[in-house]
């Protein structure tokens, strides 16, 4: 095959992997496909594969935990070939890269002809991504994977899953509502048909809503918009994964060979250069910047550029040209970041009572060593219960998952969030472990019989707002919904005076904290709509040794 056609191959690869990424993201949802025989909800596809094959996620996980969780070893399938090939991932696979490529290819007044050629020369600001990388890796070493905020796969899953796809869902739903609202039979059938069609893929049965959705979407749109100004600005300037792969391609035998004697200096090789790696003669090729997109090879009219293994290279810069002072600064930033974040009280005992973490979440310190804020748990939650935090867990925990029972409670039989978490921040648990029929295992074994149910918090009554407590009115919807057996909400029949002073018998609800798992079904169902009369706080959560209040252990669960 001629090298000039490799770029068509690259284009196909980008489309295929982007399609695969979207497909798996759509499938990061419960769509009514589960094995009744197994009795457990399981997703039929390995939906986390992009995150689990992400070398930055793996390296951050390894640095902060001195181990690799579950499927993160798959990242070696990207990492090791990078040693030989360079940044092929950026040019051929990365969905964020492909999207940036797409938006970067739009022309503008300042990005055409000579101006475009000039803007695609190597710029020194392209080294900023290496400083970002150094900072987040040092922070990971000190136990905080803020790397996930800027990791491109994590960023894509979070931005699309928690913000843009729900927005699309809303738009489509509004359109279908309008069709259905016309009342015309053919239009109604059309709406039904589209609904059925989309429900299997894109749309959700229930419109998801997420806290921070606008902010997350706006950040993503801004990052994409920057590509309009400078081709693949994200990949060239900011992406820490690109920086990692670039730094690791130092000894890659695959590289660019320039033939200056064939060159007539037309500079067409710069027109569609993605990496900004100077394929032109007269300047050294920047190996760590090149995405191997092969546009320069295809654009060269005289055959003056080729890629080869162990080829005779002219001038090459094979390591990023970092400035020592900036490098030291970014090291220092990484070293200083974690202590500075932890000088706030978030981890030290002043806990936000509403920071209810999903079941299976490790204790806060170990959680923050793992959570990359990819939002997969939020995307997959069938009850829309998990949301990105803003400051509930302190600034360090930005965009980590929090359970918001008023929007959705935690279904006892569901462990999907623990199945999709790529890093073990929400450690994988089975339904039996969650319900207390098995003790949680250590990752090697399934665990033994007779554990305690996993508790994520405890429900409390706001008696002033509760109908039977203060308004002489029957209710007990909380007791009806309570999913534990025996129920954690128990009733006391009492005589109260109604407004006319007449005696009335009502049943008042109370919580047995030893039975309550903090699932939030009571808070979700409470008819006092705005601020419910029963609410869950995190106290008593299984994952914490310190956030406790009852001395007695919870009783064993009957099966």
């Amino acid at each position: 095959m001629k090298q000039t056609t490799v770029r068509e191959l690259r284009f196909v690869s980008q489309v295929v992997f982007f399609g695969l990424f979207l497909f798996l993201l759509f499938k990061t949802a419960f769509r009514g496909s589960f094995q009744l025989a197994a009795g457990e909800v399981r997703l039929p596809y390995p939906v986390g594969v992009f995150l689990e094959a992400d070398p930055l996620v793996a390296l951050a996980n390894a640095l902060s935990t001195r181990a690799l969780y579950r499927n993160l070893v798959w990242s070696l399938a990207i990492l090791v070939p990078t040693f030989f090939l360079g940044r092929f991932f950026c040019g051929w696979i990365c969905p964020m890269g492909s999207l940036s490529h797409f938006f970067g290819s739009f022309k503008s007044e300042k990005k055409r002809g000579a101006a475009l050629i000039a803007s695609n020369r190597y710029k020194r600001w392209q080294t900023s991504k290496y400083y970002i990388l150094v900072t987040v890796l040092v922070a990971a070493l000190f136990g905080s994977v803020v790397a996930g905020i800027l990791d491109p796969i994590s960023l894509m899953v979070r931005s699309l899953g928690v913000s843009l796809l729900p927005a699309v869902n809303y738009g489509v739903g509004a359109g279908l509502d309008a069709l259905y609202g016309t009342g015309a039979r053919p239009l109604r059938l059309l709406a039904d048909g589209v609904q059925v069609l989309l429900q299997g893929s894109l749309a959700s049965f229930k419109q998801p809503h997420f806290r921070q959705a606008f902010l997350l979407g706006a950040v993503f749109v801004l990052l994409m918009g920057l590509n309009l100004r400078v081709t693949r600005f994200w990949c060239r300037a900011l992406c820490p994964l690109g920086a990692l792969l670039g730094a690791l391609s130092r000894w890659a035998p695959l590289g660019m060979v320039k033939y200056p004697d064939k060159c007539d200096d037309c500079r067409r090789c710069l027109l569609h250069c993605q990496g900004g790696d100077d394929p032109i003669p007269g300047a050294p090729w920047r190996k760590a910047e090149c995405h191997l997109c092969f546009n320069c090879v295809g654009d060269c009219p005289t055959g003056g550029i080729a890629f080869s293994f162990f080829g005779e290279r002219s001038a090459v810069v094979d390591v990023p040209q970092l400035q020592r002072r900036k490098l030291v600064t970014s090291l220092a930033a990484g070293v200083g970041l974690v202590p500075l974040l932890r000088a706030t009280p978030a981890l030290a005992g002043e806990i936000d009572p509403r920071l209810v973490r999903p079941p299976g979440a490790l204790d806060e310190r170990h959680f923050l060593e793992r959570c990359i804020r990819c939002g997969a748990c939020m995307k997959v939650c069938p009850n829309n219960a998990l949301h990105p935090t803003l400051i509930e867990g302190g600034l360090e925990a930005l965009w980590t998952p929090v359970l918001v029972p008023r929007i959705g409670y935690c279904e006892p039989s569901c462990v999907l969030c623990s199945q999709v978490c790529p890093t073990g921040a929400i450690w994988e648990i089975s339904q039996a472990q969650k319900l207390g029929r098995l003790k949680p295992g250590n990752g090697k074994s399934a665990g033994e019989a007779g554990g305690d149910p996993i508790k994520i918090g405890t429900a409390f009554y706001d008696q002033g707002r509760c109908l039977p407590w203060s308004m002489a009115t029957e209710c007990i919807v909380c007791e009806e919904w309570c999913p534990t057996s025996p129920k954690a909400v128990y009733l006391q029949t009492v005589q109260v005076a109604d407004p006319k002073g007449e005696v009335k018998t009502v049943r008042q609800p109370r919580v047995d904290p030893r039975l309550c798992t903090g699932c939030g079904a009571c808070e979700f169902a409470c008819p006092v709509r705005d601020r419910p009369a029963v609410y869950v706080t995190s106290v008593g959560e299984t994952r914490s040794k310190t956030n406790q209040f009852i001395l007695q252990r919870p009783p064993r669960v009957r099966t």
């Binding site: 009514g32 709406a191 039989s413 007791e479 057996s485 008819p527």
Partner: protein, 329 residues
């Protein structure tokens, strides 16, 4: 060639016309929009009388209790004892079957209607010539999970029924004209069906003692229905008066004796292998409450209110009844 002055004049006139047209148009649109201003109001609710009952037949029992069989057998025997399914379902009927699919529980946990029982009822209706059998419910827990884990979706689809999930757009505002219930969103298919078969499961409930057929109509409503508990007896009577089903078939194959209506533990479930079916929606609830929980119908307010409204007899001993023991025959 016109002179400069003529060109100026024509340009001036054109300018006047443009400005005149623009001003007139703007004024017109403004006046039209101004005249359209109304304070937003709820779009009107519909009212409708509906009853899908069948004519009484004095030669047949009104209430049958079928004991000791598998769910499908029980369903067949119940229809047979009541005069056959063709008495209730005619050729070309659209039949709505309303199981309880409220909770994310398996069939063994007995919080939702038995799927085999549902499947057999659908099959019987289709054999009797029903044009379409529709299965729907407004679940409490997440809808798709409830329909799947309960086995209801699978059972309904395999028997060729249409499963309608309660999407927001499928509700109509209906004035129920009840004592406690006014305008509520009601799931559309319930308004459109020719025949309605109520297929609840018998469960314990802390507020009403039991949740049976009348309580199952909770599942036709959207909106913030958790408020119904505040006047539960009136609400249930209102719903029963609105629905007036063709038939009520209470699933007591597995009975959730405690910790209802959610249950969860198999220790709460007793296998009673029974189905109670009746054309009288009040008597059937009264009978099941007595038979399984020893609750006296006189103490169940919703039954008393329903009888006062002429929806049925709560003293089940006064209705023509028959007990069939499948193990004995």
């Amino acid at each position: 060639m016109p002179t400069d002055a003529a060109a100026d004049r024509r340009e001036f006139l054109l300018q006047v016309l443009r400005l005149g047209g623009l001003s007139a148009g703007t004024l017109g649109v403004g006046a039209w929009l101004g005249s359209r201003s109304r304070r937003p109001e709820d779009t009107g609710a519909i009212t409708l009388e509906r009853s899908s009952g069948v004519a009484p037949d004095l030669s047949l029992p009104e209430l049958v209790v079928i004991q000791n069989g598998e769910p499908a057998q029980l369903a067949r025997a119940a229809f047979d004892a009541l005069g056959g399914v063709r008495r209730f379902v005619g050729r070309g009927d659209v039949v709505m079957v309303k199981p309880n699919v409220g909770w994310d529980r398996t069939a063994e946990q007995a919080a939702n209607t038995n799927p085999q029982l549902l499947g057999e009822v659908i099959r019987l209706c289709r054999d009797a010539g029903a044009k379409k059998v529709v299965v729907s419910d407004v679940s409490c827990n997440e809808t798709v999970t409830c329909f799947e884990r309960s086995g209801i979706a699978e059972a309904a689809r395999s028997q060729g029924a249409e499963v309608i999930l309660p999407e927001a757009r499928r509700f109509k505002e209906v004035d129920l004209r009840g004592d406690a219930l006014g305008v509520w969103p009601v799931l559309e298919p319930f308004l459109e069906a020719d025949k309605v078969i109520n297929l609840p499961i018998a469960k314990h409930h802390s507020l009403t003692g039991v949740t049976l057929g009348m309580k199952n109509w909770y599942g036709i409503l959207g909106g913030q229905r958790s408020r119904l508990h505040q006047r539960i007896n009136e609400s249930l009577a209102d719903l029963a008066a609105f629905m007036q089903p063709t038939l009520t078939v209470v699933d007591a194959f597995r009975v959730l004796m405690r910790n209802g209506p959610t249950g969860g533990s198999l220790a709460d479930v007793e296998e009673r292998r029974t189905v109670v079916a009746s054309t009288d929606p009040v008597a059937v609830d009264a009978y099941v409450a007595k038979a399984f929980w020893d609750l006296d119908f006189r103490r169940l307010g919703f039954l008393r209110l329903a009888e006062e409204r002429g929806l049925g007899k709560m003293n089940f001993e006064e209705v023509r009844s028959r007990i069939v023991d499948l193990a004995a025959s």
